[in-house]
C-alpha cells in the first residue's frame, strides 16, 4: 500500500452535472448484462457522449464532474476507469456511486465544491487523492478538498473490494500458520 501512487498528473476531462452511469458513463447493455470485464468495458467508456474517448485517454488523466455524477450502485464504468489508470473528482456523487467507485479501486474524490469552475477539458491537473491537494497547472490554481478517507485508501490501494478481501484472507492464513 505504501508504494501506491496517490498523486496523479494528467489532462482534465470535464463533464457537467447529473451524468448517469447507465447510458452515459457506460451503455445500458453492459450494466444490464453485469459485464465486469475491463477489456470489454474500456472501448465503451463514455461512448454514448464521446465516442472514442478511450483512444485518447492516458493513465493519470483525471475526470472532473459536476453534481450528482454516476447515479446508481453499479460498478461497470468505474471498472473501466480504474483499468485505464484514470482518477475521478466530483462536485458530488450519490453515496452508492461513490461506494461503487471505491469498491473498484478507483482513485476518487467527492464533495469537491465548485471544482468544475476551476477546470476545462485539456487542462494539466495534479491531484493527490490521499491529501485532497488539487492543482490546475494550466490556470495556476490550487484548491484543497477532503481526501479519500484513510480507511478507504486501504481498499483502493489493494485494487478494490475483491483485492481487499483476498489480501485479508491471505494475511489471516499466514498469521494462522
Amino acid at each position: 500500500m505504501n508504494d501506491f501512487k496517490w498523486c496523479l498528473t494528467g489532462r482534465c476531462y470535464r463533464l457537467g452535472h447529473d451524468v448517469p452511469h447507465a447510458g452515459a458513463v457506460i451503455p445500458v447493455r453492459f450494466v444490464a448484462g453485469r459485464n465486469v470485464n475491463p477489456e470489454e468495458l474500456i472501448p465503451y467508456l463514455f461512448h454514448e457522449i464521446d465516442p472514442g474517448f478511450h483512444e485518447g485517454a492516458q493513465a493519470g488523466d483525471i475526470i472532473v464532474t459536476g453534481r450528482n455524477f454516476g447515479m446508481g450502485p453499479k460498478m461497470n464504468g468505474y471498472i473501466a476507469m480504474q483499468a485505464l489508470g484514470l482518477g475521478l473528482v466530483c462536485e458530488s456523487m450519490p453515496f452508492l456511486a461513490y461506494r461503487a467507485a471505491v469498491g473498484c479501486g478507483l482513485r476518487v474524490l467527492t464533495d469537491c465544491a465548485d471544482v468544475t469552475k476551476y477546470v476545462e477539458t485539456g487542462d494539466e491537473l495534479e491531484v493527490d487523492f490521499s491529501t485532497g491537494d488539487f492543482i490546475n497547472h494550466s490556470r495556476g490554481l490550487r484548491r484543497q478538498f477532503s481526501p479519500l478517507p484513510e480507511t478507504l485508501r486501504e481498499i483502493v490501494a489493494l485494487g478494490g473490494n475483491a483485492g481487499w478481501l483476498k489480501h485479508w484472507w491471505e494475511t489471516r492464513r499466514k498469521e494462522a500458520s
Binding site: N68, P73, P94, F95, L96, R99, G103, P149, T151, L152, I155, N161, A162, W164, L165, K166, W168, W169, R173
Partner: protein, 435 residues
C-alpha cells in the same frame, strides 16, 4: 450534542460511546440477511478465494423470496447452489421455498428483527425494518466481506426528520403517502433536501393513524428516492404488538431531543389523495386524476412494499362481491407464508378466488424482474411493486404504474386506473375502522 436514533444504534454496534454523521465505522451486526439471488455469486467469490468459513454462521440468515417458484431451469440450478452453500457454511437459519416468505417482512413479523437492532442485508428494501425501530443497512455485493469478516465500512448517515400532521382521508393509504414522500423528497423535489444516503425519521402524533403494517408501507417508496433508511420511533402501542412476537429481548432506541438533524420537514397528509407513480421510478408520483381511466391489462398486489396482511384486507374489501374485469389478469402475492395461512383461515383467499384473482406464493412476486406473471410489450400494469423502472416486470415497452393496494384492486375490477374512493364499500370500511 445528542445523537439520532440511528447514530445510537450504530454506536452500540461499533462499540463507540458516541458517533456523529459522516464518521466511518465498522459496526457488528446482530444478524446478516442474504436473499436467495445473491447466494450463488457470493459463494462463487468466496470459494475462489478459498474462504469456506463464515464469520459466524449462527448470525447469518438466508431467505428465499426472489425466486420462489423456479420459473426456469437456471433458477432451479440456483436453488441447488443455495442449498449447497447452506450445507457448506453450516447455516442453521435457512428459510427455503415455502418456509418464510419475503425477508423484508417475515423476519420482523416473527420477532427475529426487533427494535434497536442493527443488521446488514444485501438488499436495499431492508429499510422496511425501520417500521419496527431497527436499522438495516444495504450492502449489495459487498455482502461477501460481511460474510467473511463480520463487518463492513459504514459511513454514519445524516438524519432528516419529517413531522407527519393531519388526518388520512378515506380511501387513502400508507402507500399513497409513501409515494408522495418519495416524490417530494427526490433529488430536485419539492422538499428541497438531498435525501441521498440520509435516514428519514418520521415523527408526530399523526403517525398513530398508521398501524405496524401501514408503517412498513410508509418505508418502501422513500427508499427508492435514495434514503438509506426510514426510521419510525416505536410507540407504546407498537411495542405491545412487537413484544407479543419478539423472539428475544430488545431495547427500543429514540433520538435525543438535542440530536443533530440535517433538516426538519413537515408533511400534512390531510390533503393527499390516491397517488400513482408513473413508469420509471417510485418518486414520479402524481395524483390519480392525471391518469384515471387508463385501460390496464395487468394488476399485482404484493412486494416488500405492500405485502402485509392489512394490504390484502384492503384488496379484499374492494374485491368482495366483484369480479376482475375481462382482459385483466390480477395477481396477489402475500409477503409471508404466515399471511398466506391467515388468508385461508379468515376467508380472504376465497374472496380473491371468487373475484378471479390469482394467489401466488409468498415472496417478491412479479416485482422481481417479472420472473413470474410478467407484463408484455404494449401492456399497462398497475401494481404495488416496490419500484418500476422500464422493463422491471417484463418487456420495456410497458407502462408500469405504482399505487396503493386499494387503487390496484379497484383498477383490476374496472379494467381502468380507478380512484378507490369511488368504491363505496372501501370508503365505508376505512371510515369505520381506519386501516
Amino acid at each position: 450534542m445528542g445523537m439520532t436514533a440511528v447514530e445510537k444504534i450504530l454506536a452500540e454496534a461499533s462499540g463507540a460511546a458516541s458517533l456523529k454523521a459522516g464518521e466511518i465505522v465498522y459496526p457488528e451486526p446482530q444478524i446478516v440477511v442474504v436473499h436467495d439471488f445473491l447466494i450463488p455469486p457470493s459463494k462463487r467469490e468466496l470459494d475462489a478465494l478459498g474462504i469456506t468459513r463464515l464469520f459466524d454462521p449462527d448470525r447469518v440468515i438466508i431467505v428465499t423470496d426472489h425466486a420462489v417458484l423456479y420459473s426456469s431451469r437456471q433458477e432451479a440450478a440456483f436453488g441447488k447452489i443455495i442449498r449447497q452453500a447452506v450445507a457448506d457454511w453450516g447455516i442453521k437459519q435457512f428459510y427455503d421455498v415455502g418456509q418464510g416468505g419475503h425477508g423484508h417482512i417475515f423476519l420482523a413479523e416473527r420477532g427475529i428483527v426487533r427494535p434497536g437492532m442493527f443488521l446488514f442485508d444485501n438488499d436495499r428494501h431492508c429499510t422496511n425494518h425501520g417500521a419496527y425501530g431497527a436499522f438495516a443497512l444495504r450492502t449489495g455485493a459487498e455482502i461477501t466481506r460481511v460474510l467473511a469478516t463480520g463487518t463492513l465500512w459504514t459511513m454514519v448517515p445524516k438524519t432528516i426528520r419529517m413531522a407527519i400532521t393531519g388526518t388520512l382521508q378515506p380511501g387513502v393509504f400508507a402507500r399513497d403517502i409513501g409515494l408522495r414522500m418519495a416524490t417530494d423528497l427526490r433529488y430536485g423535489g419539492a422538499c428541497g433536501v438531498d435525501i441521498d444516503y440520509r435516514v428519514l425519521e418520521l415523527t408526530g402524533s399523526a403517525l398513530e393513524q398508521f398501524s405496524l403494517d401501514a408503517r412498513v408501507a410508509l418505508c418502501s417508496s422513500p427508499t427508492e428516492a435514495r434514503a438509506v433508511g426510514v426510521f419510525i420511533p416505536p410507540s407504546e402501542e407498537m411495542l405491545t404488538e412487537i413484544r407479543a412476537a419478539a423472539r428475544g429481548p430488545f431495547m427500543p432506541v429514540y433520538s435525543d431531543p438535542d440530536a443533530a438533524f440535517e433538516a426538519e420537514l413537515e408533511m400534512d397528509i390531510s390533503g393527499i389523495g390516491p397517488q400513482v407513480a408513473l413508469t420509471g421510478a417510485s418518486d414520479k408520483g402524481v395524483d390519480i386524476s392525471h391518469i384515471e381511466g387508463t385501460p390496464i391489462h395487468h394488476a399485482f398486489i404484493g412486494s416488500c412494499g405492500s405485502g402485509k396482511y392489512e394490504d390484502l384486507v384492503i384488496a379484499a374489501a374492494v374485491l368482495k362481491g366483484n369480479r376482475v374485469a375481462p382482459g385483466v389478469r390480477f395477481f396477489i402475492t402475500p409477503g409471508t407464508e404466515d399471511t398466506t395461512k391467515r388468508l385461508h383461515e379468515e376467508g380472504l383467499s376465497e374472496i380473491f378466488h371468487a373475484a378471479g384473482a390469482i394467489l401466488l406464493p409468498a415472496g417478491c412476486g412479479p416485482c422481481f424482474m417479472g420472473n413470474m406473471a410478467p407484463v408484455y410489450e404494449g401492456e399497462v400494469s398497475v401494481s404495488t411493486a416496490s419500484t418500476n423502472p422500464l422493463g422491471r416486470m417484463g418487456e420495456k415497452g410497458c407502462e408500469l404504474f405504482l399505487a396503493s393496494p386499494a387503487t390496484v384492486a379497484a383498477s383490476a375490477v374496472s379494467g381502468r386506473v380507478t380512484d378507490p374512493r369511488s368504491i363505496d364499500a372501501l370508503v365505508k370500511k376505512t371510515e369505520e375502522e381506519p386501516l
